[in-house]
Symmetry: C2
Subunit: 342 residues, 2 copies
């Protein structure tokens, strides 16, 4: 590790002093302002390098009232869907000269509220959010709308929000595709394990699913439908109940992939052959669905596409002279990925 000790924390004033120039000139030179001699610019850049100068973003932000930083709040970055979407957004934003501050709410509304506050305190130029499952009250986002700071919700979104753009997957269609597919493969008693209906994501997936059943002339069995947090354990409990019943299901549509995998394991443990005795369709197309055997059919949400769309819309919002804002919700298409489980 041989390194030459640079001066600590040099500022444009240091460069100015070293070069017998005014700070203003240094600033101009560093910012490619045309009104500066090439010779001066050269001197300045060199000295900046020598002194190890790096622009102080806080001073810049304070002065310009722009941080070139976008805030992002997601439930958890470990979810495949979000990891993919984030990667896409971060890359796209970086290309445009923006930084991304990522934070996780851990699915806690309280944490989400604190994070929104922090993001505002940091004066991010815009905020991108995928809400907590339990976020019912969205008033903590008002600061952004009130101050005309671009606000975009994606995936887990509020039912409506004045002053924010909403981008979501076509959950209704996803549920419909799943239901239709299972009906077409000849299933008669299709179970449905969904999340809490307070989240419109799940509400829509379920609605699409039921519509498909109806279209196929299949009944909905009360005892085969569950609305509950889609944890592994909850799913197991639901399955146990179903299979203790006289009329057992011949297929299960779960509103996420964690639940689908729980069904998969349950089937294996109880000697149910997939797909002959039990078919499974999950949601999100998590990579685990492709690895498990037999592989699980799932609804692809194209997280990357959603990420691109978010950034694209964001750029428009940032460029727009207020009031031009686009506010129509955007829907991203989904696709059923068929695998061995059906």
């Amino acid at each position: 590790m041989s390194r030459t000790k640079k001066n600590q924390e040099s500022t444009i004033l240091d460069i100015a002093a070293a070069l017998q120039l005014s700070p203003a000139t240094i600033s101009r030179a560093l910012n490619n302002n045309p009104n500066v001699t090439p010779a001066t610019r050269k001197k300045v850049t060199e000295m900046a390098g020598q002194l190890g100068y790096r622009r102080n973003n806080m001073a810049l932000g304070l002065r310009n009232n722009k941080t070139h930083t976008i805030g992002l709040i997601v439930p958890r970055i470990s979810m495949f869907f979000h990891a993919e979407a984030i990667t896409m957004m971060q890359n796209a934003l970086y290309e445009k000269g923006y930084n991304l501050i990522i934070s996780q709410s851990n699915d806690s509304p309280e944490m989400e509220r604190r994070l929104v506050d922090t993001m505002y305190s940091s004066r991010v130029d815009a905020l991108i959010v995928s809400c907590t499952l339990d976020t019912q009250d969205f008033s903590h986002f008002d600061v952004f709308a009130d101050n005309d700071i671009p606000l975009i919700f994606y995936d887990r979104v509020p039912p409506a929000f004045d002053g924010a753009l909403i981008i979501r997957g076509d959950d209704f269609q996803g549920g419909y595709l799943a239901g239709t597919h299972l009906a077409e493969t000849g299933c008669k008693r299709i179970a449905h394990i969904s999340g809490p209906l307070t989240t419109n994501l799940y509400r829509d997936r379920s609605a699409g699913f039921f519509k498909a059943l109806k279209a196929a002339g299949l009944p909905v069995y009360e005892h085969l439908v569950f609305y509950q947090p889609l944890t592994y354990d909850n799913t197991r409990t639901a399955l146990k109940k179903m299979f203790e019943h006289r009329e057992k299901p011949d297929a299960v549509f779960t509103a996420n992939d964690t639940a689908a995998i729980a069904v998969h394991e349950f089937a294996r443990e109880n000697g149910l052959e997939i797909p002959r005795q039990l078919k499974i369709v999950g949601y999100s197309n998590d990579p685990r669905c492709a690895i498990i055997r037999p592989a699980i059919t799932s609804v692809e949400q194209f997280p990357g596409k959603m990420g691109s769309k978010v950034v694209e819309a964001l750029m428009q919002m940032l460029a727009a002279d207020r009031e031009t804002a686009l506010n129509e919700p955007i829907t991203i298409p989904v696709q059923l990925i068929r695998r061995m489980s059906t």
Copy 2:
């Protein structure tokens, strides 16, 4: 969405004006300075709420030369190991009043370099890094060391770095455990698919593995050892070569889990029964290892523990009056998780 329009961007001056007080008093009241009447404090807090005041972190940072923000750079957040570690760090840091800025280098040294610069420009109070696989030159991190800003490397770390703390898993031990375990289960020709030896992570895992073989009196077969980027495709190619050879392996130790899963699929496709004909040990204990059947034995690195350790050390560094800095590298123990693949 009924919301009462708050004043735009109010500052302590606005509060001061509204209350006929000086900005200084407002500042003190808001910061719980004891020298302020309870009555005044109450008035101030109320007015702050009414005006929708939020402290401007940039002004604060500029003034105090502290941002209470920690930077983090990882190859990709989607890697299970990092997702876990990050979650732990973020929660721990948030408790301590710090924010975490996360960004991904996408395993590109160029991107890493740019991110380090950005982090410095944002004047983060400290930087936490897990390097790119290809980072050979670590000079871009010098800014932090030169300016006495706490710098911590974890997991993928430089061989040594003056002025930075290094925290890593016990890779040598991990490799040793894997080798010993396979030897104990009676394997005679153990293949090894490792990453490029330019990364000391892989160098150590391999070294530990070879030491175990030696201790067990087993030979190392040249044609069964590969050093290459651990992608799915590379691994398949390596396997193909191995199995075209006369002396086929009866076990494979891969230096990560993606490769282990590739081996698993290869075995299945070629009718090799796991574990009877081929045993597999991976590295990192990715959740996929537990889901696949037969489940794959892997080396657990305790990402959460590493995350906690990082934050713990960081807090000490931030509190320390320079020079007291702890610089001894820290090693986190590993553990072999035995599953059906062995």
